[in-house]
Amino acid sequence: MNAKLIIGLAVSAALASISLSAQAGNTAGGLDAKTAEIVKRDFRDKGIAKATRVNQDELQAMCSKYVDKLPAKIKTRLEAEQTDAIKWPADGKYMGDWKAGEKLAQSGRGMTWSDKAEEPAGGNCYNCHQLSSKEIAFGTIGPSLLNFGKIRGNTEANQRYTYSRIYNAKAVNACANMPRFGHMGILSEAQIKDLVALLLDPESPVNK
């Protein structure tokens, strides 16, 4: 093979890749890439909300791309990865104080650019779920959790399951609406335990 031929091949390969990328602008993949580019350029730091927050992890990117309807293979893999990443309580206990949990469940604060870094985030629970029968201002994006413990039972297996759902809801359903409170560092281990107690403690207003 002579030098001229090599150069000729290289040029035509380069040309082909240029025309391919021009076409890519109109395909779904090209538009996804362009969207990511625009989003990365058009958002900026404000307060505690840094511009880097628009960078997606694989789960966020996949759920966006497939509009929350993942191909089965990807869904299974992502859910397994999320499950493996759950950090279980070192003391093997899952239940905290339901009263602290109720306070946490009421608070919708946390992680917006108008929140302060030093103020701990709330659980945001009532924004989307019914919990205590006494609270009528509850949202309906998530299922009702009224009588959650009464229905499911306060067994250790259920405590562990409940802890995992709050820690990382995506371990069970990769594109769930619910935030990954433990996985993303929104709530501490102790706070998650308090919420488990709110849901499962027989004395909690959720089960009364």
Binding site: I38, D42, K46, A49, Q56, S64, W113, T140, M184, G185
Partner: protein, 272 residues
């Protein structure tokens, strides 16, 4: 707006103030309070003040070039405001961009009046109980589209692309909570606490929601623009701040406006 309208608004303001006081005393529900408030001001809306302010600004010389905005082309020719909002965002040949109302007003203020862009974008929204010029101008312009059907076109390839990108931004999940616009606005008949949420993938919901912005927010005592509405959504999504009039916000607006096509524009609206 003429002087008889101004006179009409004075008793309205008195009523609005006394209404707020009564509501606080009786501890009636938010939706009742809004319904009562809406009825009281069915003859007008505090946003009318902002509309008047915007009209004044439109016709007053300003900036280093000492010009009015009466030669501003919002899509239907220089100076035309009637009905323009129902066809925005659209592709503009002179800038080579798809622009929404606020980004287009920004173009007019910088080119016709010579006001530096940074001066406008530093504080583009009403704050500290004070309106911003660009936001009042937007309120004035949208008021001239009341009762006209939304008819935003995606014929131009760039307009079509903006729509497609906007749709993707609507579904773009990110941040510590993994939220996208679609997390709250792609399911019917759900709410956050007591606040009903429109499903923006359903035409009727999208039409009603889009047609009611910009709006006077009773709780804030300010008229809020559409760019502000998107900005506050992203705040609650736990996202960083979208840059004012950026391509991302215009694309998202394009997606939402097209979803609202066919609906009668009804703003400026009135919200809790």
């Amino acid at each position: 707006m003429n002087t008889s309208n101004v006179k009409k608004l004075i008793p309205l303001l008195v009523l609005a103030t006394s209404c707020a006081a009564t509501a606080a005393e009786n501890e009636i529900s938010d939706s009742d309070r809004i319904a009562q408030y809406r009825e009281m001001i069915s003859d007008g809306n505090p946003a009318d003040f902002d509309e008047m302010r915007g009209e004044e600004l439109w016709k007053t010389v300003a900036g280093p070039k000492q010009a009015t905005l009466e030669k501003c082309d919002l899509g239907k020719g220089a100076g035309v405001v009637k009905g323009v909002y129902t066809e925005l965002p659209r592709y503009f040949k002179d800038t080579g961009k798809v622009q929404d109302l606020e980004s287009r007003l920004l173009t007019c203020m910088t080119t016709l009046q010579g006001i530096p862009e940074e001066e406008i974008t530093a504080k583009p929204f009403a704050s500290d109980k004070k309106a911003s010029d660009i936001s009042s101008l937007a309120t004035y312009v949208v008021g001239q589209s009341k009762g006209i059907k939304m008819a935003v076109s995606t014929k131009h390839p760039q307009a079509k692309e903006a729509y497609e990108i906007g749709k993707r931004i609507f579904n773009y999940r990110a941040g510590p909570y993994d939220f996208a616009c679609s997390t709250c606005h792609a399911t019917s008949n759900v709410r956050i606490r007591m606040q009903d949420l429109p499903n923006l993938n359903v035409r009727k919901d999208a039409q009603t929601a889009y047609a009611s912005w910009p709006a006077y927010r009773v709780s804030q005592g300010l008229t809020r623009s559409f760019q502000w509405r998107l900005n506050d959504c992203f705040r609650q999504q736990r996202f960083p701040e979208p840059k004012f009039a950026s391509e991302a916000t215009v694309a998202l607006t394009m997606f939402l406006a097209v979803s609202a096509n066919g609906g009668e524009y009804a703003g400026p609206g009135l919200k809790r």
